[in-house]
Amino acid sequence: MLSRTANELYWMARHIERAENTARLLDVTYRTSLLPYEPQEPGLAWAEPWAVPLVATGGATAFYKSYPALTAENVLRFMILDAGNSSSIYCCLRAARESARSVRGAITSEMYEDLNSAWIEMRAHDYQRVQSLGVSEFLDWVKMRSHLFRGVTFGTMLRDEAYHFIRLGTHIERADNTARILDTKYHILLPSAADVGGAVDYYQWASLLQSLSGFESYRKIYSDVISPRRVAELLVLRDDMPRSLHSCLNFINDTLEILCDDHGAELRRQAGELHARLHFGRTDDIIRYGLHEYLMDFLQRVSLLADEVSEHFLVPAY
């Protein structure tokens, strides 16, 4: 298939996945912000949860350039509706739809129609409309549109190269986003050291699990209280958890095997190495190394892998 087409499909998938994960991130933030707890420093820490999505997505600097204060409304405006923030849900859906439009011959008409109608609906939203609908309701809508698009893709598309580039984009983005969301716990400040292991800590871990659709799975697998060690195990190493890093790398590895044929040795080596680290990794080692450090290292490796994908398939130099 045309390299340009592959590139558009790959980024279409990444942008939809990013929109979904941004919704997940905002959803957990919104829920956390509603929890009653005593702020350590009155008047400052109450807004602390709203800094988390900015830090996790690397958007804090851009945010403070356009918004005077860290408030729930400002963060929601910035991350949902801001046409100047390339990571906002608005921009992600617009970019995904533009990509789909430019290669609409490579996807099924159902897929294009689905994405186009999502975009048409998105365009009709402003902050008042999101408020009156309810923030959680709106974020659920974003997630459902992403699920729907994935379902239409899965249900209508020929299993050709185009399909595999879409899957590749989805899982590279998801690997990145899951690592970022998981790392948010590192940034969330507890009101006091004494709260570690306390109620607030528990709710924060629980919200994080919920945002990654992992809360019910956690209960099923461990039937026990929530411990950070197990959350890390679930979202990093378990391969039966669809949003875990291991699961993402399974998809990436398998997809590259199909796409590469007998070329792309370096690309396959990188993916294989990263996959092996998750496949044979141990929770104890991660905890010992430091979850935050582990995730930072992972994000860097995923980024290098994405660069290699781009060079090899999407933007060839010849």
């Binding site: 390299s3 439009r101 609409r104 011959g105 186009n116 796409l259 070329h263 999407l314 060839p316």
Partner: protein, 470 residues
């Protein structure tokens, strides 16, 4: 002066024409609210499917729908038989003309077409002289604009032989009608058009470079911001071929390749929807960002086929149009089945004098104009407009032609106040390659403004489904 124009559905005595009977009955017994609801449904569906038009800039708000009207234009079997015969004859002659003017120029030597009209035409591509194209076919896809006037006689208004567009609307309009009103199709008397992409692919594959049994076909588009982009993507998808932009192609040793995820891949036939001028910055306009350097050299070397060929514009130019009946006689030895609209060529003193004396009755067109721009519709013009045109004609008479203002036929159409007659035309698409053929139908365009004769979508025209009866 104000004789009622020919109406497709209703005869002069007020009776419903026989081929509209079934539809009129259906309209009669169908609840108005159901039709209103279906019309809204159609509009939503066209938006969702993204059948939009004129997209410039990044703002998605600039995408427009071409209004779709649910009252079909119906053509009875015997009329279509005549149209089909006439269209094939005309396009055959036009292809022979193109092959001739780029080779022996027999028709110019005979004097049937004045040589200076052709050789001095800006659309005549010297670069094509002496070059052979597969099958001698230049206009693989021809969109011939046909109108009806007077007591219902058909006339050819224009031959579009460069990159005629609109066929996707023909196909989508049919799909929409079948979706909205399946009951209308249940009698199986409406001939299908949905095999157009198959027919197109078959014709394109038949004109590959010599010795190529299994040619790779691609559709070439100027890009996603071109006003007809939807159609380019649609046709590529329907034919199952790649949709390429200039940046996706490169030429090496006079051979054209696409950049793919598995390395370079050769392309043999390009259905290009890019104008001649922009195809190759090395051969034509140097500032073209959407072309492929070296494409023309590969074409001349016979290593790739372009459809349509370069230089077809010399045959559909309005200054050549008056001679098409002569071409038919010259090449085929036949009388034309389809008539031209009588045309005054204003470079001829006698024609010019007549036209200048009758500006208020005539339509004056720029020879190279398209899309309904640069036109004077006499009866609808003001004295100032006529004076302005008079000055322009006197300054460069060779740039203008004039035709009588035809009372274009009308077809009932939904307008704000209910159903009213509106003027229509018809563009069937004639395909040449393996053979010459067309699907039974075409694009019917309708001038939605009351009394307007201009059906172009850029001027507020809409479209209708076109039914050819079995």
């Amino acid at each position: 002066m104000s004789v009622r124009p020919y109406d497709e559905m209703t005869a002069a005595d007020g009776g419903i024409r026989p081929h509209y009977r079934a539809f009129a009955d259906w309209l009669e017994r169908t609840d108005a609210s159901r039709i209103a609801q279906k019309r809204e449904e159609a509009e939503r569906a066209f938006h969702r499917v993204g059948i939009t038009f004129a997209v410039y800039g990044e703002d998605a708000g600039t995408e427009r729908l071409i209004p779709f009207d649910i009252v079909p234009r119906i053509i009875p079997a015997d009329e279509w038989e005549m149209l089909e015969r006439g269209l094939k004859q005309r396009v055959r002659a036009l292809n022979l003309f193109l092959a001739d003017v780029y080779h022996d120029q027999k028709i110019l030597k005979s004097g049937a077409v004045p040589a200076d009209r052709v050789l001095g035409n800006t659309q005549f591509r010297r670069e094509m002289a002496g070059m052979d194209v597969p099958g001698g076919i230049y206009a693989h896809i021809a969109g011939v604009d046909i109108v009806r006037a007077g007591a219902g006689e058909y006339y050819v208004l224009e031959d579009n032989l460069r990159v005629p567009s609109g066929v996707s609307y023909m196909l989508e309009n049919r799909k929409m009608m079948m979706r909205l009103f399946p009951e209308l199709f249940a009698t199986r008397s409406i001939r299908p058009v949905q095999h157009y992409p198959d027919l197109l692919l078959e014709n394109l594959r038949a004109v590959g470079p010599k010795g190529e049994d299994n040619p790779t076909v691609a559709v070439m588009t100027p890009g996603a911001y071109n006003s007809a982009y939807f159609e380019h993507a649609f046709l590529a998808q329907q034919m199952g071929v790649e949709l390429v932009e200039g940046q996706d192609l490169f030429v090496q040793n006079d051979t054209v390749f696409m950049r793919t995820t598995r390395g370079p891949r050769r392309v043999h036939v390009i259905y290009r929807r890019v104008d001649d001028d922009f195809l190759d910055p090395l051969a034509f306009r140097k500032d073209s960002m959407i072309g492929v350097p070296g494409l023309f050299a590969a074409y001349r070397a016979g290593r790739v086929t372009l459809a349509n060929a370069i230089g077809t514009g010399v045959a559909d130019d309005k200054s050549i149009y008056p001679y098409v009946p002569d071409m038919i006689k010259f090449y085929l030895g036949e009388d034309p089945v389809l008539n031209n609209v009588p045309t005054y060529m204003l470079y001829k003193p006698q024609d010019r004098d007549y036209a200048l004396a009758h500006l208020a009755e005539l339509v004056v067109k720029e020879v190279h104009g398209a899309g309904g721009y640069g036109m004077l519709v006499g009866p609808a013009s003001t004295a100032e407009e006529r004076e302005a045109f008079r000055a322009r004609i006197l300054a460069t008479p060779e740039r203008y032609i004039a035709q009588p203002t035809l009372a274009l036929s009308t077809c009932p159409t939904f307008v704000g106040a209910g159903i009213a007659p509106r003027h229509i035309d018809l563009r069937p698409y004639v395909l040449s390659g393996s053979d010459i053929g067309l699907v039974p139908g075409g694009l019917t365009r309708v001038a939605l403004r009351e009394g307007s004769l201009v059906v172009n979508s850029s001027q507020g025209g809409g479209t209708k489904d076109t039914w050819v009866l079995a």
